[in-house]
Symmetry: C2
Subunit: 317 residues, 2 copies
């Protein structure tokens, strides 16, 4: 049976939208973007989102869509209200579910964007059929979701799953969340690029001209950049420190690592795996693997659509 | 209906045993101790345990007990085998369930000791009726258990729930588990006492003569010891750093803190609460409280017995 679902992935820099046809696997048949939501009035951004969704249905040639799934960065209440998002400071308190249901006249499900990512990787990606999985998305920050005994850990207010703000260095570098030494300050996008720029040999390293994102570091490292190799190894070890915490807490079968920073690949993941194997007694006696996400950059959008499908772990509770 | 259950709490320094009558609340009607299991042959320690359990049934005046519940420090496999325990190095691989069933001819349930503690506090103590709770036992090490959506987080091998070995200081003080900078190195029993002894004013502090355990620090702090107050505040802040990690991961309604170190009371918990309130954005937007355990030093034994009761969260999965 094929199903026609609209997916919305709300982040700090853009809102990604897609018309998604789910058969055995999901496929984005039409897509669109609403730019710079952080700097706009939420009401007008939702107006534009709803208008775009209507156009997507027309472009897909559908009579109608059966529902809208929304993944949003930040703390999403169980009633579909955004309580707080560091990347969308003006959006605190916005009723995403009610606001989009009113505008689209379709049923809307809203969840944290990392929960949506996890749902996609669990349904169609690297974690298919598994019951105990830690999901991480490494981007500007670190998002996460925890599948325990086949059910997503949600917490009493729906705010569970923020491993990026685990204390990794007590009283370390300040973080926008109010803590110091958060894991994401040692593995995040900007921090990796800044660490490379701060390196004393950066200016002399021709391979790092035009450095913009962690994937550039990976390419430079392949070509022999010592600075890039050093920065990735250091970030990999910090990621490993976070993995020790999470594996000792959850004893998962798999850790799925996705997001832009994960595109740096095994140059980042191998030092993390080595650190985990050396430092976690649960990993030594358990059965955990660390793998890159399988669905690439569309995982968030596909997972948002997945929220509308029934019987998904993410909709429990 | 009253139920007659035997409880066994296996730690590194002693095995505590009890005949426990469970009516509306549980009551230890007879108890015993097997000393120093870490330095003994596991087989003979289990022989002695079984013999003691038989005597407890007689002393309680019971015709028989309906079963035996066992809580054990370390990584306990789902089949009731102890995979690894830092405090019982010679016991790795010991089949606790089969070994005690053979010796007692009673049904035996085995679980991690912190899971047993959590079960007791959930059934009869501070966390009654709650569905999202983080449990910590602060003793020689830090044990833990996580209740998420009404079910205990168990992990794929049954090893989940080791918050004491969360990385709190990347590349910090070495820990017996193989990691560095584990949370329990900054909040554990021995480490608090050692921190006081290392303090430059320790020798001049008459209030700290005969210091043996964290409770002594609390008493000394009440009487005006600056060293004791300093050490407890510092440990409380480290505990707070761990709480930030756990609250941001689990968004619980309550954190229950038990174990010997927790007897230091609010001198330890208040700085932890303050650190959590300041540093966790989930705590700021959520609904978490931090409370001392309600059942005191018998919680472990009561929880072990609780493993035998049906419909307990700890026996799921």
């Amino acid at each position: 049976m094929s199903r026609r679902i609209l997916g919305v992935d709300i982040g700090g820099t853009s809102i990604k939208l897609g018309a998604i046809l789910v058969e055995e696997r999901p496929r984005v048949v039409a897509k669109d973007v609403v730019e710079a939501p952080a700097s706009r009035d939420p009401g007008s951004a939702l107006d534009e989102t709803a208008a775009s969704l209507e156009r997507l249905v027309a472009r897909a040639g559908w009579p109608r869509a059966e529902g809208v799934g929304v993944g949003c960065a930040g703390l999403v209440r169980r009633d579909g209200t955004l309580a707080y998002s560091p990347n969308l400071p003006g959006w605190a308190g916005v009723p995403l579910k009610d606001g989009l249901e009113m505008r689209t006249r379709l049923p809307v499900r809203v969840d944290n964007d990392a929960n949506a990512f996890a749902l996609a990787e669990w349904r169609w990606g690297a974690a298919r059929g598994m019951s105990d999985v830690v999901f991480l998305t490494l981007g500007t920050g670190i998002g996460g979701a925890f599948l325990a005994g086949g059910r997503l850990v949600r917490g009493v207010s729906g705010f569970a799953g923020e491993p990026g703000h685990a204390t990794l260095v007590l009283d370390g570098a300040p973080c926008a969340c109010g803590n110091r030494g958060c894991a994401e300050r040692y593995v995040g996008n900007k921090d990796l690029v800044e660490a490379a720029r701060r390196h004393p040999e950066f200016a002399d390293d021709a391979l790092l001209r035009g450095l913009r994102e962690p994937r550039d570091l990976s390419l430079a490292a392949e070509r022999g950049s010592r600075v890039a190799a050093f920065v990735l190894a250091q970030a990999g070890r910090a990621l490993g420190g976070l993995l020790v915490t999470l594996v000792n807490a959850f004893d998962p079968e798999l850790v799925v690592v996705g997001g832009g920073v994960a595109l740096a690949g095994d140059r980042l993941l191998d030092p993390a795996r080595a650190h985990l194997a050396e430092r976690s007694f649960v990993a030594r006696h358990g059965a955990v693997r660390v793998a890159a996400a399988a669905l690439g950059s569309e995982a968030g959008l596909l997972g948002s659509a997945g929220l509308v499908l029934e019987e998904s772990f993410a909709t429990a509770g």
